[in-house]
Every structure is written in C-alpha cells, then in structure tokens.
Symmetry: C2
Subunit: 233 residues, 2 copies
C-alpha cells in the first residue's frame, strides 16, 4: 500500500464512518452508496469517495460499497486488528470511569494493567482489573512492550509521568490530564482529550446561537410593528 501522507481531516472522519457502518450492519443493511452514506452523515458523496480512495478501491461501480467489507477495511486502516496493548496510569475519577465502562477490547486495545500510587486505591479491583502500584510500571511496560498509556494522573504530575512512560518505551499517550504535554521525543503519538476545550467551543457556539436568536426575535418584533401600523392605516 503506497501511502501518500493522509490528511488529519480524513483520519478524524474514519472513526465516524466506522460507527455509521456498524449501525448499518446492525440494521441488516448489506450495501450502501456514497450518496446514501453522505446523506446520513451530512457529507458530500464526493468527499466520501475521495476519503476511501486514499486507501484503496473498496467499492464497485453500479453497486456501491459492501457494508461489512468496508467496515473491515476501515477497522484495519485504523489499526484495530493490531493487538495493541495499553495501561491505565492514574485511577482517579476519570481513570476509574474508563476502567468501569470503556470497552478497550472493542477498539483493539488489550488492557494490561492499571496503576496508581495512592494507598487507598492500590490493591483494589475495578471491573476485574487490580490496581497495582506505579512502581511496577517500568517492569511491565518493558516486559510486555506495552504500546500505549491512558494518562489520568493529576495535572501536577502529568508531564513528569509522561516522560517516565516514554523512558520505559511507551509509544503513545492518550492524555486526559488537560495539560499540554510538550514532550521532547519526536515520534511519540499523543492524543489529547481536553474536556475544557470541548466545553468552551460549545460555549462559543451557544453564545452565537443565542445572539442570532435574539436578532431574529428583534427583527420579527419590528416587522410585527410595521404590520400593526399598516393595519391601523
């Protein structure tokens, strides 16, 4: 597969396609055209065909795409069949929530362990996973060549912990700490989940939506007045 550099925008759409195709599969749909899929996802059919064509030819003229086949291709592109391994580092509120309800396996990640340093947490078991002391992180990561870490420690120790993880050989960090990690290493993959950034973007659009609504209301009011005046005449 000759990979010209794929744009980030395309990559970010792939998981959405996957989700949609899963829904279609559950609903028993066997094939779908780029036109139909585009209507469902509010994308143009052109964009969908362009996106897929970055990776190969998954469709068939006059027919469209086979739902299960396409789903499998995308899953493979995303690396879901690579048996990546992962550890959870920091079992506070968010770490615990992920352990309790996030299905790592479903996305191709095998959970190898969860770690913390607080005595009231270490030793407990959550959803079948025993919380170990972080002293054991280095050994596990090196022994099992763990690929990725979910970073859920407190802000204050985020950068330090991240750098330790790198030095143990972790290749990728899923970062829930709301800290910009700024790591020295070049080829480390960091994926941030910044709750606050998401909320603030929403806040902007909410403010805009309210402003536009009141502009509309204002216009309608003035229009009504005019109508009223006309009626009086």
């Amino acid at each position: 597969m000759k990979h010209v550099k794929i744009s980030n925008n395309v990559i970010r759409r792939l998981p959405r396609y996957l989700r949609r195709l899963d829904e279609l599969a559950v609903a028993g749909v066997e094939r779908i055209s780029s036109k139909e899929l585009g209507e469902k996802m509010r994308l143009t059919s052109s964009q969908i065909r362009q996106d897929f064509s970055c990776f190969g030819e998954f469709g068939q003229q006059g027919y469209g795409y086979n739902v299960l086949g396409l789903r499998a291709e995308i899953a493979s592109i995303l690396g879901m069949d690579r048996n990546f391994t992962m550890v959870v580092v920091g079992v506070g509120n968010i770490g615990r929530a992920l352990l309790e309800s996030f299905c790592f396996e479903q996305y191709g990640f095998k959970l190898m362990g969860a770690f913390d340093i607080r005595p009231d947490v270490v030793g407990k078991t959550i959803n079948g996973v025993e919380i170990l002391h972080a002293d054991g992180l280095e050994e596990l990561i090196k022994a099992e060549q763990v690929d990725a870490a979910v970073l859920c420690v407190q802000k204050a120790s985020a950068k330090r912990t991240a750098n330790s993880l790198l030095s143990y050989g972790i290749k990728s960090i899923w970062n829930f700490t709301n800290v910009e990690l700024e790591l020295d290493e070049e080829d480390i993959v960091v994926e941030d989940i910044h709750f606050s950034d998401s909320l603030l973007s929403m806040s902007y659009y909410l403010a805009e939506s309210i402003d536009q609504e009141s502009i509309r209301a204002e216009k309608a009011k003035r229009l009504n007045k005019k109508v009223a005046v006309k009626k009086q005449q």
Copy 2:
C-alpha cells in the same frame, strides 16, 4: 462587533490560546508577541495574528499583546462571562467523574443540578450536588431557563433523552454518550466527546508510527550490512 462567519478551525484554537495565556499569566509574563506565542504553540505568527484579527485589534505595534488583556478578550469571545447554566443528566461513571472533578464554574457554567432515574443513585450527594430524579428536569429547565445539558445517560436512551431536553427548552448538549444524536431541531448546539473516535485516531497514528519505525530500522540494517561488506573489502 461585525462578525463575518468565523471558521470552526479558529474557534477550536481559541481554548488552546486561553490555556496558554493562563499559563503565561501564572508565570508572571505580562506581554507576548505573536512570534513568541507561535513558537510555544507550534503555530505561525501569521496564523495567530489572523485568528485574533477576526474579533478585533487586541495588540499594539512594536509591543505585542498584553497577556491578561488578551486572555480576557478570548474568554469573552468564548462566552465565559455569560453565566450559562447547565444540568448533568445521567450520573453513571462519567457523569459522576465530571461532578467530582470537573470545574464547571471555571469555564463559566453554573451547575444547576444533576439527574438520574436509578433509585440507588437518586438522593445521593456528590461533591455537594444532590442527585435528583429526572422527573424534575422539565420543571427546573423551564423555571431556570437552563441553557445546556451534559448528556451522560446510557446509549440506549441517548436520543430519547436528548429530544426530551430539547422539548423542555435546552439550547445546547454536551454529549458524552458516543451516540450521533441526529436531532430534528436546527439551532441546537451539540458538542460531542467521542472517546472511541479519539482512541481510534490515536490507534491510526500509532500504527503509522510503528510502521515508519520498522522501515527506518530496516533501512539502517541494510546500510550496516553494506558498511560491513565495505570494511571487509
């Protein structure tokens, strides 16, 4: 303020600017140029000046930007001073984690209540917030004109709950359910936090990074062989 339509890319960068300016303020930095800020954030100075100029003239030639002043402008653009109100709907693992550790007030959102329907959850108090029965949602939202809801219910009830919230007058949904809501209403603001999408994007880049690493290793190996052969000659 004459708002030409601001692109989504710009909006998504604003919270990052805010975070960075907060860090600078804490570090006691008073002024910063677009050049310096750009280096810190890995953006071009051009882009930074373009971004800000969408909203007004916040800098001063020959000087740069005042950190606190710029911070305040961005906070205001994001609507952080609008006293938005919010409810948490669904207090499972993720809802609880947010109640326990997410600082809504810091981002300008006032938490008006948390709701669930499960008898083992309703009546409990988390971080000073009493969990109420969802039967009370309609009354509270209408009485207090609540602006936004954090949607943390289970997948199966996500769409139904979202539609109820809309019918009660909610204007915005922060969606943690990992379901594409597809609401009928036009002017509702939805902001998704899709953990799985984020993880799968990371998975793609991790796979790519591993592949590239092994290509590099392969090349180095072949090079070494050549060198060894030369040395033998």
